[in-house]
Symmetry: D2
Subunit: 375 residues, 4 copies
């Protein structure tokens, strides 16, 4: 089966998430990177392209050039990955959507609601595929949790507790990663809430299928001089009566990348933590807790679908991310006429808009003394 051709905007030397996208795209052998506008700095763009084996003729000075040129080629890219800081999502996303090139975009959707809506409008107007890399939804046990809830293993959901806690911004920090994430002009008005709060919110929504009605949020910027939030406390009310709590923090000393989800329903409860993602516990009320392992005994169809190795051979962050890319490939092929495999659940433009509404609601609520705010 021929590989699909991938382009990339952003992700030049020194970038973190661009390298992750590239590995994720390679793991299942569905994509090859052939074009890029890898940096706004022309020298870095060229050097990065060479290092990545991209032909000089397909290393572009700007995403506008790239969208135009690739759309015109017979062998043009099948999709573009946008891995720039948040404030540079809308420009390329809209350009490629309008050029009819599917977009795989990092989260959150954008730095402003206006830009986000413009992207959504472009996706709608053009009918071009848009995938948002809320990569944590790609973990097999997250797929299994979603399926278990859907088929009623937990009964009616009552309580959702989600947290995403880190400590890398516990002190004033500089560096490529920290700089733009703490600059409202580039990250958007939300700091921690946009960078990782959206992941937590997306994950809870994805797994439970619950719709959030309103929230009450208390945001802080604990580090002196910080211009965006670095700690986020949220109470959630879901349609139908379930309740939730969400904690996101970049100053929670002792935590590296602590994304953790706990859900309790009338009949059962589950718990999963990203740092050891091959394990999930499940308790049927009144019975002993079970340890469900990825691809192990008790794996559900959805849990098995995205796994590459047997139980006990741990998969990690990159494999979960790769599942997003594998599904993006399936969707691109489907758009060209191939049948769609079962179980494709990749986050899309609607999830992106929902994430933006979450950020906005948190900020609005917090500014209004944590008043309940509709999503």
């Amino acid at each position: 089966m021929a590989k699909l051709k991938l382009g990339m905007v952003g992700g030049g030397q020194g970038a973190f998430i661009g390298a992750v996208h590239r590995i994720a795209s390679r793991i299942d052998g569905q994509w090859e990177l052939v074009a890029g506008a890898l940096s706004s700095d022309p020298a870095r763009a060229a050097a990065s392209a060479e290092e990545l084996g991209i032909e000089a003729s397909r290393s572009y000075a700007s995403y506008e050039d790239m969208a135009k040129a690739e759309a015109a080629r017979d062998d043009g890219i099948d999709a573009v990955a946008i891995v720039t800081p948040n404030h540079v999502h809308a420009g390329p996303a809209i350009a490629f959507l309008k050029a009819g090139i599917p977009v795989i975009c990092d989260k959150p959707l954008s730095s402003t609601m206006e830009d986000a809506e413009a992207i959504a409008q472009a996706a709608k107007d053009t009918g071009t595929l848009f995938v948002l890399t809320h990569n944590y939804t790609g973990y097999p046990l997250i797929r299994q949790a979603r399926e278990m809830i859907e088929r009623g293993d937990l009964g009616e959901i009552r309580v959702v507790n989600v947290e995403y806690v880190q400590d890398w911004l516990a002190e004033e920090t500089t560096g490529k990663q920290a700089d733009w994430r703490t600059d409202p002009a580039r990250s958007g008005a939300g700091g921690c809430v946009g960078d990782i709060g959206t992941h937590a919110f997306n994950l809870a929504s994805y797994v439970t299928g619950l719709e959030t009605e309103s929230l009450a949020a208390d945001l802080d910027a604990f580090v002196p001089g910080r211009r965006v939030d670095d700690n986020v406390h949220v109470m959630l009310r879901f349609k139908g009566g379930a309740k939730g709590m969400l904690w996101a923090s970049q100053v929670a000393v002792g935590n590296e990348n602590g994304l953790r989800l706990r859900i309790a329903g009338t009949k059962g409860g589950i718990e999963w933590a990203q740092e050891n993602p091959n394990v999930m516990t499940f308790t049927r009320f009144g019975e002993p807790k079970q340890i469900l392992t990825r691809a192990g005994a008790g794996a559900s169809p959805a849990g098995l679908r995205g796994t590459r190795t047997p139980g006990g051979h741990p998969e990690g962050y990159l494999e979960g991310f790769a599942t997003i890319y594998a599904e993006a490939a399936a969707l691109v092929r489907h758009a060209k006429g191939a049948p769609l495999p079962e179980g494709v659940h990749t986050p899309d433009i609607e999830d992106g808009l929902l994430g933006m509404r979450f950020i906005s609601a948190c900020i609005a609520s917090s500014r209004n003394n944590a008043a309940w705010t509709m999503l």
Copy 2:
């Protein structure tokens, strides 16, 4: 050293917490149980007394009789343990305080704020010792955590996350333990928030030393027909700017007795969970996380003070509870002239009142759509 004489109100056959208090009182060999008004049912009271080796003459039909008779004896009890349901705390507490007999009372202080204040007034008027068994403060690593924060190991506290989650009331339940705890006439207006929310709140306050300024609470009664809350979400604002979240639940399927405390400051963070209480993790920002064990390498003076066995020989719930009794003994002996050993930190009447204000504030806030409510 002669043992102190203990009386007990409540705790007859079939009771849970009475038996716990008795074991706790025995562990360090400081107390012997010699008198009781163990049940409002005379037959059960007599049978329970006989089983416990209490002489028939000191098995009383009522706490009033007991307070009077014991106060009159030369060899009267040195303290009374009150282990009745919440609504029967005030009566005996006030009776014994007025009789000059020190009181060791289970938590929460009472079922109503009025009763709680009456107890406090009696304690103040009589100057008699009052100990509240927030037993989780007795764990050695909790003592160590408090000391570490006091001496600055964590820097300035920013974020507190405390939870106490169970699942035993996830369905409609009957039985001696469940009945009174879900009956507002006996438990007070708070259900889960009073029964275990207060433990969580007390623990967070005890360890951090932070004063809570206000809170926003969202309480639910998920089980159909339940008349008190069974799930509690709270956001906390502490004096000085720290923030907190508190989750208490009796419907969180998959949890037995999940009291867990996480604290992050400018310099460090700790994490402790009651179900494996001999272990606490501590991270100095930028260094590897450490596993601190009870009585192991890294134990602090306060952490060592209340331990009975070497590291790796686990102590549990009963030993933590026993420390409260050992300290009550020290306080009783101190009231008689003995020097007070270092490090006695047993919760007292003020902690009891604070717990009642916490319950009231949670209920008031929740009724007011989770509005911020002063404590």
Copy 3:
């Protein structure tokens, strides 16, 4: 119910295991300590007795005096606890057995096989009760594991892996605890193998019910100048074909008191570790692993029998030890005519002899280049 009267030989100030025995004897309210020969140093014996509330007239200068005097009293002790170093077990044990006073003796049975056999002979000749405090058998989940295997939950046992690893003797150490344990004249020819290897061997035998046929052992004394072993590797062959490995060490840096048992049969497997003793995992072949908690869902009759608190309220080392004392009380009362409660499984003189044969076989095998040695 009147308490039984306990005497103690050894356990004066500064001793570790004596204090443990005393707490264990108190927890269930079955025993009161009334007599002792607490130290071979008369001043320490007297001071210890006073501290423990033993009347001066029942604080004896020697165990011989004590056995004689207590046997002569109408209110003499119901049993004696022997908590001296290994080489001082036989003397008092035989004296009390001959005086008709039941003996509760710390492990291993003795420092030499000759002494051990003499104790056994005395127990046999006198018909007096002898209890050996292999306390780890008192943990509720160990009782449950034994019951599960007995009733066939694991099928036929194939493989046993037991280890007991510590690090407190990783360097040359002095102090009351270390001194006698590393002196062959006092501990016996076995160091680590006698002190903790026997615990591991006893636990594996107790839980599985398997009889050891032969073993091959490789013992080392890693610390320069050490006169007894401090690291023990053993391969085990059980009657019927099962196989085992045993590792005991006092130089395994990073381990406090790591007693851990894993057993696999044709149908299932279990795993338990003493440092968090309220949890055991159980896997039925082909099904998800279950987490069985003490007194939680899935608790078996034997698992429930010795528990004092609900699931999630951890019990520890002292409670497991207390179960040995509670059962010793039941056996003493039974010898006086009371019915014996179900499920009394306290290790006895036979277990003591078996432990001695294990030590001897390990030493003999190791001296013979780890040749297979019959037990």
Copy 4:
């Protein structure tokens, strides 16, 4: 940088390890698969090749044809991956070595010592690169453990405890994976000892740098009718006086892929388990245990070298395997003149021979009643 060209022998549809090798080769973007003799079944070979995007002209009917044809092409493969069952390692390995094409071969080296030595001879005679995929050495924390020991963090090593326990062969099983692994004609005389025992032995040797002097092994075939061992107990003696235990099992019910390594030295101890490979504990004697995370605080140069994501973003089995492929690429490029990057530690032919000697010694020892056998 142009990708290297990879060929594959074995790994057609339905194979496990072939797919793993392919993903591993893709992750770091160093290899592209261009040729194969994927199956001895021509139809399956062709179908597999098509699925993998291998041109029909480079899908060969036999490895002999492939070696010859690829060696003759200007754009011939830069290396071949051999992923056949053990008894089909020697044929292709020798053919490609003789053709001057570097070999990346799955472990163990072969099914017989004779074949293994023939491979080694061919490697020596031709001077062609040979890499053995003991993939577990590719985990970053394993690299770090090796470096820590090398630089003396643990002092002098005393005790090594390594185990690799699974349960997938606990009952009689059929299927592509089980069949050849339990057939001595295909797997070699060793079953479990060859399949996973060698991994455990390799890992312990790799990390500690210790040379094994002799071993005593007790092997069993527990499943009725099984013709090779399925449970392996080994005691190890290392040069210089350190001792070890090794347990490998495919019938240890409750274990998926439990490769676990514990090492204690005079100054420190470490513990690592493959199923959660991003975490290792390290204890300096007398200090609190530290949790070292992959790429987290405390990461050493070697620990950082092979990581792709920040701490808390778990890497897994495939990434560890990919490091072997990345290093094979570095070695291939180095053979062509490129400088060799620091820290390349890929297992080679010597490790393969050592593994074969380990298997032989275990079998010989076990047949000789576990007599000590030189390696």
